[in-house]
């Protein structure tokens, strides 16, 4: 299985000479210099959860959370890249167009995090999509729904773990687009189910990193570990 970043068409291979942006550039201004320190001290070894503990370490503090998002975006981008490279039989043109949009959004998210993290970024992950039948619409859309809903729950659950307001706003800019995707995919599967995953308060259900990573790791050959992520 090729690495995620190489699983697209040739034009999708990132520029290897991409220059990492400094944290200061990411912020756009000098602010919140204490964020990383706070994140590091906030991490602890929580024995009563099922956090995956082997594999590529996402790191700690805000960078850990950004790497967490980067890992999920890598997974989504690789998935849709494959969906568009080998579309299921008689994919309607309208679906092809919007699934291509989603692929491009996920690539944009992935590359954004890669550049923003610079030298702090985790490596490119190797996906394992062996449980997905890319020739079968039901299989593909079922996986897409799982990825999108997981992404929404992951970002919603990670918001409180971020200490830097600029990062939180960026996460907010992305999560609503993931929710738009999730609603569209759900409607493709069954029209009108766009928000059927909500609770009694009409709200989405957030998830902690431990549960998210356990789910995400089932689609990864190289596992990721979140043991050093902040927990509050």
């Amino acid at each position: 299985m090729p690495k995620i970043i190489e699983s697209g068409t040739e034009t999708l291979i990132p520029n290897a000479n991409n220059k990492a942006l400094s944290r200061r550039q990411f912020l756009g201004y000098g602010a919140a210099t204490a964020a990383l320190v706070v994140g590091v001290t906030a991490c602890n070894k929580d024995d009563d959860n099922d956090m995956p503990s082997t594999g590529i370490d996402l790191g700690s503090g805000d960078f850990g959370i950004l790497n967490y998002a980067y890992a999920l975006e890598q997974l989504e981008a690789a998935f849709y890249t494959k969906v568009i490279m080998s579309p299921y039989g008689s994919m309607p043109a309208a679906e092809m167009a919007l699934l291509t949009d989603i692929r491009d959004h996920e690539i944009a998210h992935r590359e954004f995090f890669k550049n923003a993290l610079g030298s702090n970024a985790i490596a490119a992950l190797t996906p394992d999509f062996s449980t997905i039948d890319f020739t079968n619409r039901t299989s593909v859309l079922g996986a897409a729904k799982a990825f999108e809903d997981l992404g929404v729950s992951a970002y919603n659950g990670a918001g409180k773990l971020i200490t830097n307001g600029a990062y939180l706003t960026i996460a907010g800019k992305i999560v609503s687009v993931e929710a738009r995707h999730a609603a569209y995919i759900r409607d493709l599967i069954s029209n009108g189910t766009f928000a059927d995953g909500t609770d009694a308060n009409g709200m989405d259900i957030s998830m902690e990193p431990a549960a998210v990573l356990t789910a995400a790791n089932t689609y990864l050959t190289t596992k990721v570990s979140g043991t050093n992520l902040p927990t509050s």
Binding site: N15, L21, I174, V175, S176, A179, G202, M203
Partner: protein, 285 residues
């Protein structure tokens, strides 16, 4: 500084402002008295003090954000409740059963958000703002909003897309970031508004008649397009065309083919509280 104007704006989101400040006349008198004795630069501070007196903590901090969110949810809940009533009465013609069901589902979510926020405010020791009186014709600009399905969907889309931007704009408020439970709740509502927006946009595409001719409304926002023929809604979309995030240019990022359209779609943009209040102002009488 037009003090009367400020109070009028506050009155739009809180009709009880004068009760909180004793009476309107006393409020004006009190403020004029204060302002007359202060340097101009101190006036905003005096105004803030009066408002704090009126609301306790509700104009600032977490309770202020919750009441702001509640005001928007009141708007949405009432809009769908009136729309769904018009559908039942047969005055708003909706072409398909799935469309009717979707509007019921969205309306139920918005009402649930209202109830959740009211309880959250009360549980936090605050006072929930009372529901404003709404004018969904926006002073006559959308006169047939509850009889014209295309217009109804256009207003719905604007409310949902604006709601997404409004919650996003509050996320990094220090008071919200300091309160994990409320922040997570706000995020869990924020993403549902985006789900609603996605579906309403698909309903509009299915219904046709988008303006300008040939525009493609997708579940996500392309550039700053609304697909709606009304300058009144453009403020809800201005700024969505952004293609640079935290100084990183998303277009063709790292040599990959990412168009400006895709780059703008991939990130939704926030609005400030004031921008949102300016947008919803015409719908509040």
């Amino acid at each position: 500084m037009n003090v009367k104007h400020i109070f009028n704006e506050i009155e739009k989101v809180d009709p009880e402002i004068y009760e909180r400040l004793d009476t309107r006349r006393n409020a004006m008198k009190q403020f004029s008295g204060i302002a007359g004795k202060l340097a101009l630069t101190a006036v905003p501070l005096a105004l803030g003090g009066m408002l704090k007196k009126a609301y306790g903590q509700t104009t600032t901090g977490v309770l202020g954000i919750l009441n702001f969110a509640l005001t928007l949810e009141y708007l949405e809940a009432k809009f769908y409740s009136m729309g769904n009533a018009a559908i039942t009465a047969g005055t708003l013609m909706v072409p398909t059963a799935p469309a009717k069901a979707a509007l019921q589902k969205i309306g139920a979510d918005e009402t649930a958000h209202v109830n959740f926020l009211k309880k959250a405010i009360t549980d936090s020791g605050g006072v929930a703002v009372t529901e404003p009186t709404f004018d969904f014709t926006a002073g006559g600009a959308f006169a047939d909003v509850f009889t014209n399905y295309a217009l109804f969907l256009a207003v719905a889309q604007t409310f949902e897309d604006t709601g997404v931007r409004a919650y996003k704009g509050q996320a990094a408020d220090p008071a919200l970031m300091a309160n994990n439970d409320v922040l997570t709740a706000a995020l869990n509502i924020h993403s549902v508004e985006a789900r609603h927006a996605s579906h309403i946009r698909q309903m509009r595409k299915a219904n046709g008649g988008l303006v300008p001719a040939g525009v493609n409304v997708k579940p996500w926002i392309t550039g700053k397009q609304s697909g709606i023929d009304s300058p009144a809604v453009q403020a809800s979309y201005n700024g969505e065309e952004l293609t640079t995030q935290a100084t990183i240019n998303i277009v063709n990022i790292n040599g990959l083919m990412i168009s400006a359209d895709a780059a703008s779609e991939a990130f939704d943009e926030p609005l400030t509280k004031q921008q949102v209040l300016d947008i919803v102002g015409p719908f509040i009488t």
